[in-house]
Amino acid sequence: MLYLDLTVTGLMTGVFYALMAIGLTLIFGILRVVNFAHGEFYMVGAYTYTLLSTALGVPVWLTLPAAVLVGAALGWVTERTLMRPLYAGYSSWGLMKDEYAIIVTFGLSLLLINLVDKVIGPYPYRGPELIDTARVHLGPVIADGHRLMATGLGVAVIAGVFAFMRFTVAGKQVQAVAQNRLGASLAGIDPGRVSAAVFAASGGLAAFAGGLLAPIINASPDVGVFTAVKSYVVVVLGGMGSVAGAVVAGLFLGVAESFGAVFISYGYRDTFGLVILILVLMFRPQGLFGEKGRSV
Protein backbone atom coordinates (compact mmCIF):
# COMPACT_ATOMS: atom_id res chain seq x y z
CA MET A 1 0.00 0.00 0.00
CA LEU A 2 2.83 2.32 0.88
CA TYR A 3 4.41 1.68 -2.52
CA LEU A 4 1.22 2.54 -4.36
CA ASP A 5 0.78 5.62 -2.26
CA LEU A 6 4.33 6.77 -2.91
CA THR A 7 4.03 6.07 -6.60
CA VAL A 8 0.83 8.07 -6.95
CA THR A 9 2.16 10.97 -4.90
CA GLY A 10 5.37 10.90 -6.91
CA LEU A 11 3.56 10.86 -10.23
CA MET A 12 1.40 13.76 -9.15
CA THR A 13 4.45 15.80 -8.26
CA GLY A 14 6.06 14.63 -11.47
CA VAL A 15 3.30 16.14 -13.58
CA PHE A 16 4.29 19.58 -12.33
CA TYR A 17 7.96 18.89 -12.91
CA ALA A 18 7.07 17.91 -16.46
CA LEU A 19 4.95 21.01 -16.93
CA MET A 20 7.87 23.19 -15.88
CA ALA A 21 10.42 21.29 -17.90
CA ILE A 22 8.54 21.26 -21.21
CA GLY A 23 8.95 25.00 -21.67
CA LEU A 24 12.60 24.92 -20.73
CA THR A 25 13.38 22.05 -23.05
CA LEU A 26 11.49 23.69 -25.94
CA ILE A 27 13.59 26.83 -25.53
CA PHE A 28 16.74 24.77 -25.51
CA GLY A 29 15.55 23.01 -28.63
CA ILE A 30 15.04 26.28 -30.48
CA LEU A 31 17.87 28.50 -29.24
CA ARG A 32 20.31 26.05 -27.61
CA VAL A 33 20.32 28.12 -24.45
CA VAL A 34 19.10 27.48 -20.93
CA ASN A 35 16.72 30.09 -19.56
CA PHE A 36 17.86 30.75 -16.02
CA ALA A 37 14.82 32.95 -15.40
CA HIS A 38 12.42 30.07 -15.98
CA GLY A 39 11.65 29.75 -12.28
CA GLU A 40 10.63 33.39 -12.23
CA PHE A 41 8.01 32.78 -14.91
CA TYR A 42 6.64 30.22 -12.51
CA MET A 43 6.81 32.71 -9.64
CA VAL A 44 4.99 35.39 -11.63
CA GLY A 45 2.27 32.88 -12.46
CA ALA A 46 1.88 31.94 -8.81
CA TYR A 47 1.53 35.58 -7.80
CA THR A 48 -0.84 36.49 -10.61
CA TYR A 49 -3.12 33.62 -9.72
CA THR A 50 -2.96 34.22 -5.98
CA LEU A 51 -3.24 37.99 -5.87
CA LEU A 52 -5.96 38.33 -8.50
CA SER A 53 -8.00 35.74 -6.64
CA THR A 54 -7.44 36.83 -3.08
CA ALA A 55 -6.97 40.58 -3.37
CA LEU A 56 -9.40 41.32 -6.19
CA GLY A 57 -11.74 38.43 -5.66
CA VAL A 58 -11.65 37.28 -9.29
CA PRO A 59 -12.85 33.66 -9.60
CA VAL A 60 -10.04 31.11 -9.80
CA TRP A 61 -11.23 29.85 -13.17
CA LEU A 62 -10.43 33.25 -14.60
CA THR A 63 -7.25 33.92 -12.66
CA LEU A 64 -5.66 30.69 -13.83
CA PRO A 65 -5.86 31.65 -17.52
CA ALA A 66 -4.82 35.16 -16.52
CA ALA A 67 -1.67 33.73 -14.93
CA VAL A 68 -0.94 31.86 -18.14
CA LEU A 69 -1.37 35.03 -20.18
CA VAL A 70 0.91 37.06 -17.93
CA GLY A 71 3.54 34.34 -18.04
CA ALA A 72 3.26 34.14 -21.82
CA ALA A 73 3.56 37.90 -22.17
CA LEU A 74 6.63 37.88 -19.98
CA GLY A 75 8.15 35.10 -22.06
CA TRP A 76 7.43 36.92 -25.27
CA VAL A 77 8.93 40.21 -24.03
CA THR A 78 12.00 38.36 -22.76
CA GLU A 79 12.56 36.81 -26.15
CA ARG A 80 12.06 40.02 -28.08
CA THR A 81 14.29 42.15 -25.89
CA LEU A 82 17.01 39.80 -24.68
CA MET A 83 17.17 36.73 -26.90
CA ARG A 84 17.07 38.36 -30.30
CA PRO A 85 20.79 39.16 -30.38
CA LEU A 86 21.43 35.42 -30.21
CA TYR A 87 20.28 35.03 -33.77
CA ALA A 88 19.65 38.47 -35.28
CA GLY A 89 22.91 40.07 -36.32
CA TYR A 90 25.92 39.80 -34.00
CA SER A 91 27.56 37.20 -36.18
CA SER A 92 30.69 37.23 -34.06
CA TRP A 93 28.66 36.25 -31.05
CA GLY A 94 28.75 32.55 -31.75
CA LEU A 95 31.55 32.20 -29.29
CA MET A 96 29.91 34.06 -26.45
CA LYS A 97 26.39 32.88 -26.98
CA ASP A 98 26.16 30.64 -23.92
CA GLU A 99 27.83 33.19 -21.73
CA TYR A 100 25.49 35.95 -22.84
CA ALA A 101 22.33 33.89 -22.51
CA ILE A 102 23.25 32.62 -19.08
CA ILE A 103 24.21 36.03 -17.72
CA VAL A 104 21.28 37.87 -19.17
CA THR A 105 18.69 35.34 -17.99
CA PHE A 106 20.41 35.12 -14.62
CA GLY A 107 20.14 38.91 -14.43
CA LEU A 108 16.48 38.75 -15.39
CA SER A 109 15.92 36.22 -12.64
CA LEU A 110 17.53 38.53 -10.08
CA LEU A 111 15.53 41.45 -11.41
CA LEU A 112 12.16 39.73 -11.16
CA ILE A 113 12.86 38.29 -7.72
CA ASN A 114 13.90 41.65 -6.32
CA LEU A 115 11.17 43.53 -8.10
CA VAL A 116 8.52 41.29 -6.59
CA ASP A 117 10.26 41.37 -3.24
CA LYS A 118 10.09 45.15 -3.28
CA VAL A 119 6.70 45.72 -4.84
CA ILE A 120 4.70 42.91 -3.27
CA GLY A 121 6.88 42.10 -0.30
CA PRO A 122 8.87 39.15 0.94
CA TYR A 123 5.95 37.49 2.73
CA PRO A 124 4.51 34.31 1.29
CA TYR A 125 0.99 34.28 -0.10
CA ARG A 126 -1.12 31.17 -0.21
CA GLY A 127 -3.19 30.71 -3.32
CA PRO A 128 -6.85 29.70 -3.23
CA GLU A 129 -7.76 26.15 -4.10
CA LEU A 130 -9.57 25.35 -7.29
CA ILE A 131 -12.16 23.22 -5.55
CA ASP A 132 -13.21 22.94 -1.93
CA THR A 133 -13.35 19.18 -1.65
CA ALA A 134 -10.71 18.30 0.87
CA ARG A 135 -10.31 14.62 0.35
CA VAL A 136 -10.97 12.39 -2.56
CA HIS A 137 -10.81 8.59 -2.31
CA LEU A 138 -9.34 7.04 -5.39
CA GLY A 139 -9.68 3.41 -4.55
CA PRO A 140 -7.09 2.84 -1.85
CA VAL A 141 -5.35 6.16 -2.37
CA ILE A 142 -6.54 9.32 -0.66
CA ALA A 143 -5.79 12.57 -2.47
CA ASP A 144 -6.37 16.21 -1.75
CA GLY A 145 -9.11 17.66 -3.94
CA HIS A 146 -7.17 20.62 -5.27
CA ARG A 147 -4.10 18.56 -5.90
CA LEU A 148 -6.11 16.09 -7.89
CA MET A 149 -7.78 18.79 -9.95
CA ALA A 150 -4.47 20.55 -10.55
CA THR A 151 -2.83 17.31 -11.61
CA GLY A 152 -5.69 16.60 -13.95
CA LEU A 153 -5.37 20.00 -15.57
CA GLY A 154 -1.62 19.52 -15.81
CA VAL A 155 -2.04 16.20 -17.57
CA ALA A 156 -4.57 17.73 -19.92
CA VAL A 157 -2.26 20.59 -20.83
CA ILE A 158 0.69 18.25 -21.38
CA ALA A 159 -1.51 16.15 -23.65
CA GLY A 160 -2.48 19.35 -25.41
CA VAL A 161 1.17 20.25 -25.98
CA PHE A 162 1.81 16.83 -27.48
CA ALA A 163 -1.19 17.10 -29.74
CA PHE A 164 -0.09 20.56 -30.81
CA MET A 165 3.44 19.47 -31.63
CA ARG A 166 2.24 16.43 -33.50
CA PHE A 167 -0.82 17.50 -35.38
CA THR A 168 -0.60 21.22 -36.11
CA VAL A 169 1.42 23.06 -38.72
CA ALA A 170 2.72 25.45 -36.10
CA GLY A 171 3.89 22.53 -33.98
CA LYS A 172 5.72 21.04 -36.93
CA GLN A 173 7.34 24.42 -37.59
CA VAL A 174 8.66 24.45 -34.03
CA GLN A 175 10.16 21.02 -34.57
CA ALA A 176 11.61 22.09 -37.88
CA VAL A 177 13.38 25.09 -36.35
CA ALA A 178 14.65 22.93 -33.52
CA GLN A 179 16.12 20.44 -35.93
CA ASN A 180 17.60 22.83 -38.43
CA ARG A 181 17.26 26.54 -37.98
CA LEU A 182 18.77 27.48 -41.31
CA GLY A 183 16.85 24.85 -43.21
CA ALA A 184 13.61 25.94 -41.61
CA SER A 185 14.22 29.56 -42.52
CA LEU A 186 14.96 28.55 -46.11
CA ALA A 187 11.65 26.71 -46.11
CA GLY A 188 9.93 29.99 -45.32
CA ILE A 189 9.56 29.61 -41.56
CA ASP A 190 10.57 32.70 -39.60
CA PRO A 191 12.77 31.34 -36.80
CA GLY A 192 12.46 34.63 -34.91
CA ARG A 193 8.70 34.31 -34.69
CA VAL A 194 8.98 30.68 -33.70
CA SER A 195 11.47 31.57 -30.96
CA ALA A 196 9.18 34.26 -29.62
CA ALA A 197 6.19 31.94 -29.70
CA VAL A 198 8.14 29.20 -27.92
CA PHE A 199 9.28 31.61 -25.24
CA ALA A 200 5.71 32.76 -24.77
CA ALA A 201 4.49 29.18 -24.54
CA SER A 202 7.27 28.36 -22.13
CA GLY A 203 6.41 31.32 -19.91
CA GLY A 204 2.73 30.42 -20.07
CA LEU A 205 3.36 26.80 -19.07
CA ALA A 206 5.61 27.78 -16.18
CA ALA A 207 3.11 30.36 -14.97
CA PHE A 208 0.36 27.76 -15.25
CA ALA A 209 2.35 25.43 -13.01
CA GLY A 210 2.91 28.33 -10.64
CA GLY A 211 -0.80 29.01 -10.42
CA LEU A 212 -1.71 25.37 -9.91
CA LEU A 213 0.85 24.92 -7.15
CA ALA A 214 0.20 28.24 -5.37
CA PRO A 215 -2.14 26.63 -2.80
CA ILE A 216 0.49 23.96 -2.09
CA ILE A 217 3.73 25.92 -2.29
CA ASN A 218 3.08 29.49 -1.19
CA ALA A 219 4.00 32.25 -3.61
CA SER A 220 7.11 34.12 -2.47
CA PRO A 221 9.73 36.09 -4.40
CA ASP A 222 12.24 33.24 -4.52
CA VAL A 223 9.79 30.37 -4.87
CA GLY A 224 10.89 29.91 -8.46
CA VAL A 225 14.56 29.33 -7.70
CA PHE A 226 13.89 25.97 -6.19
CA THR A 227 11.36 24.96 -8.85
CA ALA A 228 13.72 25.99 -11.61
CA VAL A 229 16.48 23.79 -10.24
CA LYS A 230 14.08 20.84 -10.44
CA SER A 231 13.28 21.62 -14.04
CA TYR A 232 16.99 21.76 -14.94
CA VAL A 233 17.33 18.26 -13.54
CA VAL A 234 14.33 17.05 -15.51
CA VAL A 235 15.49 18.66 -18.74
CA VAL A 236 18.96 17.16 -18.50
CA LEU A 237 17.60 13.75 -17.55
CA GLY A 238 15.08 13.71 -20.34
CA GLY A 239 17.49 14.97 -22.95
CA MET A 240 17.85 18.68 -23.60
CA GLY A 241 15.34 19.65 -26.25
CA SER A 242 13.14 16.57 -26.00
CA VAL A 243 9.54 17.21 -24.92
CA ALA A 244 8.69 13.54 -24.48
CA GLY A 245 11.90 13.07 -22.54
CA ALA A 246 10.99 15.94 -20.24
CA VAL A 247 7.64 14.36 -19.42
CA VAL A 248 9.09 10.95 -18.71
CA ALA A 249 11.96 12.42 -16.69
CA GLY A 250 9.56 14.68 -14.77
CA LEU A 251 7.43 11.74 -13.70
CA PHE A 252 10.53 9.70 -12.93
CA LEU A 253 11.99 12.42 -10.73
CA GLY A 254 8.69 12.83 -8.88
CA VAL A 255 8.53 9.13 -8.07
CA ALA A 256 12.25 8.89 -7.29
CA GLU A 257 11.98 11.74 -4.81
CA SER A 258 8.88 10.38 -3.16
CA PHE A 259 10.53 6.99 -2.63
CA GLY A 260 13.89 8.50 -1.76
CA ALA A 261 12.35 10.73 0.90
CA VAL A 262 10.97 7.65 2.66
CA PHE A 263 13.65 5.07 2.06
CA ILE A 264 16.83 7.12 1.87
CA SER A 265 16.49 10.41 3.67
CA TYR A 266 13.82 13.02 3.99
CA GLY A 267 16.24 15.83 4.72
CA TYR A 268 18.27 15.18 1.59
CA ARG A 269 15.34 14.51 -0.74
CA ASP A 270 16.07 17.62 -2.78
CA THR A 271 19.60 16.51 -3.48
CA PHE A 272 18.64 13.29 -5.30
CA GLY A 273 17.72 14.97 -8.53
CA LEU A 274 20.83 17.15 -8.42
CA VAL A 275 23.06 14.14 -7.96
CA ILE A 276 21.29 12.44 -10.85
CA LEU A 277 21.83 15.54 -13.02
CA ILE A 278 25.55 15.55 -12.35
CA LEU A 279 25.86 11.81 -12.89
CA VAL A 280 24.02 12.04 -16.19
CA LEU A 281 26.23 14.87 -17.40
CA MET A 282 29.33 13.00 -16.23
CA PHE A 283 28.61 9.65 -17.78
CA ARG A 284 26.33 10.47 -20.68
CA PRO A 285 27.59 13.92 -21.69
CA GLN A 286 26.09 13.24 -25.09
CA GLY A 287 23.69 10.44 -25.84
CA LEU A 288 20.92 11.11 -23.38
CA PHE A 289 20.46 14.61 -24.69
CA GLY A 290 21.22 14.29 -28.33
CA GLU A 291 24.15 15.69 -30.19
CA LYS A 292 27.47 16.88 -28.93
CA GLY A 293 29.16 19.48 -31.08
CA ARG A 294 31.57 17.93 -33.57
CA SER A 295 35.07 18.62 -32.44
CA VAL A 296 36.37 19.84 -35.77
Binding site: S92, L95, S295, V296
Partner: protein, 239 residues
Protein backbone atom coordinates in the same frame (compact mmCIF):
# COMPACT_ATOMS: atom_id res chain seq x y z
CA UNK B 1 64.04 8.10 -45.05
CA UNK B 2 60.41 7.91 -44.06
CA UNK B 3 59.45 10.92 -42.07
CA UNK B 4 55.72 10.49 -41.57
CA UNK B 5 54.39 6.97 -41.91
CA UNK B 6 50.68 6.26 -42.08
CA UNK B 7 49.87 2.58 -41.80
CA UNK B 8 46.43 1.03 -42.24
CA UNK B 9 44.64 4.03 -40.82
CA UNK B 10 40.87 3.64 -40.73
CA UNK B 11 37.83 5.38 -39.35
CA UNK B 12 34.20 4.33 -39.45
CA UNK B 13 31.22 6.60 -38.86
CA UNK B 14 28.23 4.42 -38.25
CA UNK B 15 28.87 1.49 -40.56
CA UNK B 16 30.51 3.57 -43.28
CA UNK B 17 34.24 3.73 -43.74
CA UNK B 18 35.20 7.40 -43.87
CA UNK B 19 38.82 6.34 -44.13
CA UNK B 20 39.54 2.76 -45.06
CA UNK B 21 42.95 1.27 -44.42
CA UNK B 22 45.05 4.12 -45.77
CA UNK B 23 48.80 3.69 -46.19
CA UNK B 24 51.20 6.35 -47.27
CA UNK B 25 54.55 7.88 -46.38
CA UNK B 26 55.83 11.41 -46.50
CA UNK B 27 59.57 11.96 -46.78
CA UNK B 28 61.36 14.79 -44.98
CA UNK B 29 61.12 18.03 -46.95
CA UNK B 30 58.34 16.87 -49.23
CA UNK B 31 55.37 19.04 -50.16
CA UNK B 32 52.62 16.55 -50.77
CA UNK B 33 49.22 17.50 -52.13
CA UNK B 34 46.22 15.65 -50.75
CA UNK B 35 43.34 15.83 -53.20
CA UNK B 36 40.06 14.13 -53.81
CA UNK B 37 36.39 14.91 -54.30
CA UNK B 38 34.22 16.17 -51.45
CA UNK B 39 33.57 13.52 -48.83
CA UNK B 40 36.52 11.40 -49.92
CA UNK B 41 37.97 11.38 -46.40
CA UNK B 42 40.72 14.03 -46.64
CA UNK B 43 39.68 16.00 -43.59
CA UNK B 44 38.96 12.84 -41.59
CA UNK B 45 42.47 11.66 -42.42
CA UNK B 46 43.92 15.01 -41.39
CA UNK B 47 41.96 14.87 -38.13
CA UNK B 48 43.52 11.51 -37.34
CA UNK B 49 46.99 12.80 -38.14
CA UNK B 50 46.56 15.81 -35.86
CA UNK B 51 44.86 13.83 -33.11
CA UNK B 52 41.42 15.41 -33.32
CA UNK B 53 39.89 12.07 -34.16
CA UNK B 54 40.87 8.68 -32.74
CA UNK B 55 41.33 6.13 -35.51
CA UNK B 56 39.56 2.77 -35.36
CA UNK B 57 42.71 1.10 -36.59
CA UNK B 58 46.18 1.71 -37.93
CA UNK B 59 49.12 3.79 -36.80
CA UNK B 60 50.73 7.15 -37.40
CA UNK B 61 54.49 7.33 -36.95
CA UNK B 62 56.51 10.52 -36.99
CA UNK B 63 60.28 10.11 -37.31
CA UNK B 64 60.11 6.60 -35.95
CA UNK B 65 57.97 7.55 -32.97
CA UNK B 66 54.43 6.30 -32.89
CA UNK B 67 52.04 9.15 -32.19
CA UNK B 68 48.72 7.44 -32.91
CA UNK B 69 47.40 7.77 -29.38
CA UNK B 70 48.96 11.08 -28.38
CA UNK B 71 46.43 13.76 -27.43
CA UNK B 72 46.18 16.83 -29.66
CA UNK B 73 48.38 19.14 -27.61
CA UNK B 74 51.16 16.57 -27.25
CA UNK B 75 51.06 15.90 -30.96
CA UNK B 76 51.32 19.62 -31.63
CA UNK B 77 54.39 19.73 -29.42
CA UNK B 78 55.75 16.72 -31.30
CA UNK B 79 55.63 18.98 -34.37
CA UNK B 80 52.41 18.04 -36.17
CA UNK B 81 50.67 21.37 -36.65
CA UNK B 82 47.50 21.81 -38.59
CA UNK B 83 45.38 24.52 -40.06
CA UNK B 84 41.64 24.03 -40.14
CA UNK B 85 39.41 24.33 -43.14
CA UNK B 86 37.08 26.60 -41.15
CA UNK B 87 39.38 29.15 -39.60
CA UNK B 88 40.03 28.80 -35.90
CA UNK B 89 41.63 31.73 -34.11
CA UNK B 90 41.18 33.17 -30.65
CA UNK B 91 38.65 35.92 -31.24
CA UNK B 92 38.97 37.86 -28.02
CA UNK B 93 42.73 38.16 -27.91
CA UNK B 94 44.85 40.28 -30.22
CA UNK B 95 46.48 39.11 -33.42
CA UNK B 96 49.89 39.28 -31.78
CA UNK B 97 48.68 37.31 -28.77
CA UNK B 98 47.22 34.65 -31.02
CA UNK B 99 50.73 34.02 -32.23
CA UNK B 100 52.10 34.16 -28.69
CA UNK B 101 49.65 31.46 -27.57
CA UNK B 102 51.09 29.17 -30.22
CA UNK B 103 54.66 30.13 -29.36
CA UNK B 104 54.29 29.60 -25.64
CA UNK B 105 52.11 26.53 -26.12
CA UNK B 106 54.80 24.96 -28.24
CA UNK B 107 57.45 25.68 -25.64
CA UNK B 108 59.12 28.99 -26.53
CA UNK B 109 60.00 31.38 -23.72
CA UNK B 110 58.34 34.77 -23.60
CA UNK B 111 61.13 36.69 -25.34
CA UNK B 112 61.65 34.22 -28.17
CA UNK B 113 57.92 33.96 -28.73
CA UNK B 114 57.64 37.73 -29.06
CA UNK B 115 60.60 38.00 -31.46
CA UNK B 116 59.23 35.20 -33.57
CA UNK B 117 55.69 36.62 -33.56
CA UNK B 118 56.91 40.05 -34.69
CA UNK B 119 58.84 38.49 -37.54
CA UNK B 120 55.86 36.45 -38.66
CA UNK B 121 53.53 39.45 -38.46
CA UNK B 122 55.87 41.28 -40.83
CA UNK B 123 56.25 38.36 -43.15
CA UNK B 124 52.48 37.87 -43.38
CA UNK B 125 51.71 41.60 -43.60
CA UNK B 126 49.70 41.44 -40.41
CA UNK B 127 51.72 44.01 -38.45
CA UNK B 128 49.17 46.80 -38.94
CA UNK B 129 46.52 44.72 -37.19
CA UNK B 130 48.80 43.23 -34.54
CA UNK B 131 46.95 44.89 -31.67
CA UNK B 132 43.45 44.22 -32.99
CA UNK B 133 41.37 41.46 -31.46
CA UNK B 134 41.37 38.61 -33.92
CA UNK B 135 37.58 38.66 -33.92
CA UNK B 136 37.74 41.97 -35.76
CA UNK B 137 39.95 40.79 -38.59
CA UNK B 138 38.67 40.08 -42.08
CA UNK B 139 38.15 36.46 -43.09
CA UNK B 140 41.38 36.44 -45.09
CA UNK B 141 43.38 38.03 -42.30
CA UNK B 142 42.07 35.43 -39.89
CA UNK B 143 43.16 32.71 -42.25
CA UNK B 144 46.61 34.27 -42.56
CA UNK B 145 46.81 34.50 -38.80
CA UNK B 146 45.92 30.86 -38.29
CA UNK B 147 48.45 29.99 -40.96
CA UNK B 148 51.03 31.99 -39.04
CA UNK B 149 50.36 30.18 -35.77
CA UNK B 150 51.48 26.95 -37.47
CA UNK B 151 54.94 28.42 -37.94
CA UNK B 152 55.73 30.01 -34.57
CA UNK B 153 57.95 27.02 -34.02
CA UNK B 154 59.00 25.38 -37.30
CA UNK B 155 56.73 22.34 -37.42
CA UNK B 156 58.06 18.89 -38.26
CA UNK B 157 55.12 18.70 -40.63
CA UNK B 158 52.46 21.30 -41.40
CA UNK B 159 49.00 20.00 -42.31
CA UNK B 160 47.18 22.68 -44.27
CA UNK B 161 43.47 22.16 -44.97
CA UNK B 162 42.37 24.35 -47.89
CA UNK B 163 44.55 27.31 -46.89
CA UNK B 164 43.87 29.16 -50.14
CA UNK B 165 40.11 28.73 -50.31
CA UNK B 166 38.03 31.92 -50.22
CA UNK B 167 41.02 34.14 -49.63
CA UNK B 168 41.78 37.39 -51.42
CA UNK B 169 44.42 36.83 -54.13
CA UNK B 170 46.93 39.14 -52.44
CA UNK B 171 46.76 37.08 -49.25
CA UNK B 172 46.85 33.88 -51.21
CA UNK B 173 50.02 35.21 -52.78
CA UNK B 174 51.53 35.89 -49.34
CA UNK B 175 50.73 32.40 -48.14
CA UNK B 176 51.83 30.78 -51.36
CA UNK B 177 55.18 32.54 -51.28
CA UNK B 178 55.62 31.60 -47.65
CA UNK B 179 54.96 27.92 -48.37
CA UNK B 180 57.36 27.89 -51.34
CA UNK B 181 60.13 29.58 -49.36
CA UNK B 182 59.80 27.26 -46.37
CA UNK B 183 59.62 24.28 -48.67
CA UNK B 184 62.83 25.36 -50.32
CA UNK B 185 64.41 25.40 -46.86
CA UNK B 186 63.30 21.83 -46.24
CA UNK B 187 59.96 22.27 -44.48
CA UNK B 188 57.60 19.30 -44.87
CA UNK B 189 53.97 19.95 -45.85
CA UNK B 190 50.79 18.06 -46.45
CA UNK B 191 48.48 20.34 -48.40
CA UNK B 192 44.79 19.63 -48.84
CA UNK B 193 43.39 21.63 -51.72
CA UNK B 194 40.61 21.68 -54.23
CA UNK B 195 42.48 24.10 -56.38
CA UNK B 196 44.14 21.94 -59.06
CA UNK B 197 46.31 24.69 -60.57
CA UNK B 198 47.73 25.37 -57.11
CA UNK B 199 48.42 21.69 -56.47
CA UNK B 200 49.94 21.31 -59.91
CA UNK B 201 52.20 24.27 -59.37
CA UNK B 202 53.28 23.63 -55.78
CA UNK B 203 53.33 19.89 -55.20
CA UNK B 204 55.74 17.53 -56.91
CA UNK B 205 53.77 14.63 -55.48
CA UNK B 206 50.07 14.17 -54.84
CA UNK B 207 47.88 11.64 -53.12
CA UNK B 208 44.32 11.36 -54.37
CA UNK B 209 41.65 9.92 -52.11
CA UNK B 210 38.24 8.68 -53.06
CA UNK B 211 35.60 7.08 -50.85
CA UNK B 212 38.03 6.73 -47.96
CA UNK B 213 40.80 5.01 -49.90
CA UNK B 214 43.85 6.14 -51.76
CA UNK B 215 43.15 6.10 -55.44
CA UNK B 216 46.47 7.29 -56.74
CA UNK B 217 49.77 8.35 -55.26
CA UNK B 218 52.72 9.70 -57.17
CA UNK B 219 53.95 12.48 -59.38
CA UNK B 220 51.26 15.19 -59.37
CA UNK B 221 51.04 15.36 -63.14
CA UNK B 222 50.59 11.61 -63.38
CA UNK B 223 48.00 11.56 -60.60
CA UNK B 224 45.98 14.34 -62.18
CA UNK B 225 46.04 12.57 -65.53
CA UNK B 226 45.15 9.19 -64.04
CA UNK B 227 41.85 8.07 -65.61
CA UNK B 228 40.62 6.75 -62.25
CA UNK B 229 41.22 10.16 -60.67
CA UNK B 230 39.46 11.99 -63.47
CA UNK B 231 36.60 9.51 -63.20
CA UNK B 232 36.35 10.06 -59.43
CA UNK B 233 36.17 13.82 -59.85
CA UNK B 234 33.70 13.68 -62.69
CA UNK B 235 31.64 11.09 -60.83
CA UNK B 236 31.72 13.28 -57.77
CA UNK B 237 30.61 16.29 -59.76
CA UNK B 238 27.89 14.38 -61.54
CA UNK B 239 26.46 13.08 -58.27
Amino acid sequence: MTFLKVKGLEKRFGGRHAVDSVHFDVAAGELVGLIGPNGSGKTTLLNMLSGHLAPDGGTVTLEGREVTRLPVHRRARAGILRMFQLTRVFDRVSTLDNLLVAGRGLGLNARDALTRARALLDELSLSPVAALDAGRLSGGQRKLLEFGTCFMVPPRIALLDEPFAAVHPSMREIMGRFVRERHALGQTFLLVSHDMPVVREMCERSVCMNAGSILADGNTEDVLNDPAVIEAYLGGEAA
